[in-house]
Symmetry: C5
Subunit: 356 residues, 5 copies
């Protein structure tokens, strides 16, 4: 649960600006770099082996988008840093995947980092990875952790085929497209979480069990973490839409405003989840109390019915020499009658108490 805290530990004690995290043994997966150079009229796609190969592409076309999959290679990051003049602290933020979503305006470029979510259908839990964007005047560099799916594939295709507005717009619009894809993805994940909550809801109302309690707790924690990941994004987009510096053009502003609305909708939904889940916990407890109450009623009714009868039976099971009732001819039937009367009386009493 607190993996972020554990990952963070390995970064403690290093001088600021360090990119390698010694304690952390990352799988040595290849870093995949794709470049997309495009303008209103054309778009070219490159698979880049070495970050330094991007240098000549820069400035050749209206927009250059470099998409880096995998942030564990200090070498690639440092080359990108040299190429685009990125501050060492920013490079550190990119490589350490425990950042809080934030926007850093470095004047020559904007740096944005946020969380990208995926839903693990099998274990019904949300997975997160970190996405970072460096927006310059005519380029955009995006960084993703290696193991995520390709959220940006659709946008790449849209640009290649010239569908939509993207080809005619600048790099800031591309930033919007990517962030929009990230936020849209939140909705998909939230829908799955919502389905999970609805399943829980039905289960709580029908058959409360101990494992459900655990699930409910896990869901509440998940909502807690979702909130922690997404809440700061709102602030980031708010700053983009109102004060994007010189790098976000006037024409792109309405799009970021739209994005802002979406991010608020995401937050609203998470808050609603939290409220609904809190209500579910109450519901579980109330339902349990209700069932205990019902069980108590059954137990009490049966005990109350039979305890006096059993006592009577015990009474006439005593072995005293002198017990006149035992001799009576109709004694047995008399006792049976008394027992029946007691039972009927009890039942009337129960009805008065509204237990029946």
């Amino acid at each position: 649960m607190f993996e972020q805290l554990r990952r963070k530990r390995h970064q403690v004690g290093l001088p600021p600006g360090t990119l390698e995290t010694p304690g952390l043994t990352l799988p040595d997966a290849e870093v995949r770099i794709q470049a997309l150079a495009y303008g209103p009229t054309d778009a070219r796609h490159y698979d880049i082996a070495d970050m330094r190969d991007c240098g000549p592409l820069l400035g050749q076309s209206q927009v250059l988008w470099i998409d880096v999959d995998g942030v564990h290679s200090a070498g690639a990051l440092r080359q990108a840093g040299d190429l685009f003049g990125i501050h060492p602290l920013i490079l550190e933020d990119i490589s350490h995947t425990t950042q809080r979503p934030k926007l850093e305006d470095m004047e020559k470029y904007l740096f944005i980092t946020c969380k990208m979510l995926r839903y693990d259908e099998e274990n019904r839990r949300v997975l997160e990875e970190q996405g970072s964007f460096v927006l310059g005047p005519n380029y955009l560099v995006s960084f993703q952790e290696a193991d995520g799916g390709d959220v940006f594939g659709e946008i790449r295709e849209r640009i290649m085929t010239g569908k939509g507005r993207a080809r005619r717009m600048d790099a800031d619009y591309l930033l919007y497209c990517l962030m929009d894809a990230v936020v849209d993805n939140y909705f998909l994940v939230l829908e799955k979480v919502g389905d999970h909550i609805e399943d829980m809801e039905e289960a709580v109302l029908s058959t409360p069990s101990a494992s459900m309690l655990e699930n409910l707790h896990a869901l509440r924690r998940e909502a807690l973490f979702l909130r922690k990941y997404i809440w700061p994004l709102r602030e980031v987009v708010a700053r983009l839409q109102t004060n994007g510096g010189t790098l976000v053009r006037e024409a792109t502003m309405p799009y970021f405003r739209d994005l802002y609305d979406h991010s608020i909708q995401v937050i609203d939904t998470i808050e609603t989840f939290r409220d609904v889940l809190a209500g579910l916990s109450d519901l579980y407890l109330s339902g349990l109390s209700f069932k205990t109450n019902e069980i108590m009623k059954v137990l009490t009714m049966l005990s109350t019915l039979f305890i006096p009868l059993t006592f009577l039976a015990g009474l006439y099971g005593m072995n005293f020499k002198h017990m006149p009732e035992l001799e009576w001819e109709w004694g047995y039937y008399g006792v049976l009658a008394v027992m029946a009367a007691t039972s009927v009386g009890m039942l009337i009493f129960f009805r008065g108490k509204k237990w029946l």
Copy 2:
């Protein structure tokens, strides 16, 4: 419950500004368009078949109100967009009915979207649909989802018959009238919800049942959703009343201030509902605890009364050869006396414990 989330899903992955939502099979109901052109002296009503027919009407009279029922037709929306110069993102907001209430000042026109509520008496639940308004200098275009009732009928009639102030005022006053109708409608819906809550309240105090728990949970969720729909409207009206740009005239300001007061009253009421419902949940639990406690008392009293008696009876039911008491002449009556004394002692003990 999370239908909004589900509807939202179909819009994910589309390029910004897309009006068609492919996954969503909307019923192909006709879009109904009504135009109302009016000024201080006259008012004409048109049923419009094709949005492009509205073009010649524009500018002919002091105010042109075009009311569109049904937002699922991408064609009609696009024609309206062309006619009034509406930004593609705004058109998208109109057609995707999962928006958060908001105000967008586009300088040449104002765009407002909000939720319109109806109450389904049969299932006792609140239904919502989306209403959008585009206010220009001398026109107002209103969009409603097709399946709602006609909230604006009364206003249309008032204008046609020249009742009230509307004919003498500009398009911004018409906007006020429509939004006022929407907010007034909230009060009607809230009254129904309030009735429902009062019914629940009575039921909780008289006979708690398991189904009530479910209803209570549903009501709390409804209050949650109402809050989510209406809270942002306050902000919208606040911006209108303080800073309506050039499109809202000074003379209309007091009316929007009034509307603002009403929207705050609506929110106050919803908050009160939430507090009352939270109190009801507590009440339910406390009431249940009280009943369990009462049942425990009855069970314990009866058990406590009879357990010693039954033991005594069992004692003298033993078959030992040498039990002198059994031979005593008054043994049986002695035991009965001891039993009676024990019972009386118990009853005194209960009175001391305040159980009787």
Copy 3:
């Protein structure tokens, strides 16, 4: 409980500025109008039959105070509107008694509306009515619902007899006096509510009952409504004390600052009530749990004491032919000894569990 909502309903759908509320059959009580014209040296009191008779009084003396009891007469309101130039929306606010406390600065006059409270000793509940004030440069018009008591009587007398500062001050000081009387009255009502809470507190600690639960719920709701009525007043007074426009003179400012302090004290008290009441609900539940726990202990102790004894008695009540113990001479006494030993062991066990 939600009468305000019900009253509100009848106003829905009417054009803005409507004074009559058709659905609401108000008792046709007479409207009582009193005028008080005064200055530093003299004060005259008039009983006014027709609002139009106030016209000649206006401007004759330093301050003219017109006190209207009853706001259900559209005629009187409209005449007052004509006389003092009051905006139709303001008149509507005066006549519809479901307003949220607010201050409206109309430049030529200030409009203030707030809630006046009374305590119904018999049913132990708070009653509210609406009070409205229109402050002009040299006049003040106050409106109360007809059925309230005379909160302002003391002030009228003070002016007539020349006691206190009022005769030497302007109309804004009179406004302060009236609002001060309203807020002072809140303290009286809150004291009664406080007494009620203290009674509840004692009752919860001594004898929890089901009806108490209901009372507690009712009190919490009352506190909720008090808060809703009084909270916005703070804002109204805050605006008066900082920015009263030209109508509130510098010399009166300290008095409104004092009033502001009082209104904050009222709110503090209500918040404290809410916290104390929430604590009381917890106390009730905890007390109940404690009692259930005590009952469980008694039941368990008694059952545990007697169950083994009863078993032993049953054992030797069996009718087997060959049960050697039954033949033993001291068998009976042996069993009694075993029973006594078991009981003593149980009691020691209970002491170890701290149940005794």
Copy 4:
């Protein structure tokens, strides 16, 4: 508990600026007035019988501190008002001891009122009284309720003996010293309350009882009231440290900043108390539930062990003519064996349920 509210009642309905509170019969204790006139080189102490005797002292030395014990004498207050030109509303605030802590900047002088706390060791509760300060350019008048201890004695002595900085500083530094004494005193009181909470904590964990519940409730209410008394003080000191007008000199600012830090620490501590107490209530309830659960286990285990055995014993206590088992030679021992086996089975079942 709501004494403040009761005291307040007697002030309702009086004209603003009234000093006598008719309904309140105050003990006619003497008002004690002490004057301290001092400068860098000398300090003189006077016991003043009549407030008018202070007149000649004013302006004679660098600072004149007049300390008034007892605010129930309208005469002394009015004389002080005349002497220092204090506004009637301020005098009313001094005499009515139900004020919320506040700062009033009257340009010629500053008025500050706050709560002074004492701890009643015997009843373990916090007592409050009101302290007020009027700071002029070269004088300071302090007012305390008569029955409090002497919080300011130490400062008086420090000034007389010339210890510390006070003699070299102006009246505003004296104000700081007095308020610092008040706030330091809060820490002493809070320490006592903290000890009380710790005692409660231990008690809750060892032996929950019904009286503890009451104590816990009382403590929570005390924390509530402490918060209400102290919270507004923060604001007062905040205004002093940032914008003390002309009466608070630049050189004294760091001291008020220090005081501000202390007042925030006090508030932090109270908030922590509130959180800890809320946790304690939960702890009490959880502990009780745990105990009930334990008791249930014991009861259930014993019942479950013996119920089948008792049934078996009862079975063979039946008096049927034809019961072959009764005739068997080893029948009795067989039944005993079955009983033993049942018991062992039950114990294994309990172990499986983790009840043992």
Copy 5:
């Protein structure tokens, strides 16, 4: 638990600016003073015996860092005060280790105080001590309580060996490095607390016990105190990053921004801890309720099964002379059959209730 409050007590009543705390008997550990004078090209380390020896070092190199371990020596503090011109109130803040984290801008120097945390693995609790920093134009004085570990050792070594950026930067960067070390340390402590919480979580879900309740309460209190210690630090760093006065250079700003992000992450984590712990308490209670419910079921089922059977057995154990059933040849087997039928009926009933 409230040691801070107790320590605070000894400081109450002293004149402002006092360094000795009489009531507090501090161990007379030696104060250890280390000086580090460095610039881009060289770095020298001194062990200082007397604070006055630092005088000549000041101004000799680009940065002079004096690290003082132990704040209980009034003499050393006063010498430092003289040497660097530190205000007496600041010296008091350094020596009294109960400060709230704060930043004091004294123009000639910045004063910062904050909490440094350590984790006591054995008792699983967080220990805190106070760290203070005085930043001048070319020097930095740091103060730690004597008993802490050496958090700054790594930085000292980095400077000595010239690793990282520190040698090339000014004193404000050194301040950043030290504060970064403090905040990074928080993450290590939080990770341990997180592990503790996870252990609790597992324990709550498997075997709730009374001691766990105590632990949970202790953890919640720890989270409360962590929050109280760390929350104000955020504000301190916020002021540093936005408005560090002339002492924090433009070039260092990005580093403080980074520090700010980290401190927010720390706070986020603590808030998450608090939420998770609150959820754990609920989980504990719900789990307990569930277990009680399960136990009730077992008890009720067994009682319900056997109570009617035992009654039947008791019935035919009566000694009436005339009980025809007893004479029947198959009476015994008939009763056994009835008993079996009753049991089967009961089991079917339980299945209907979903208890099996």
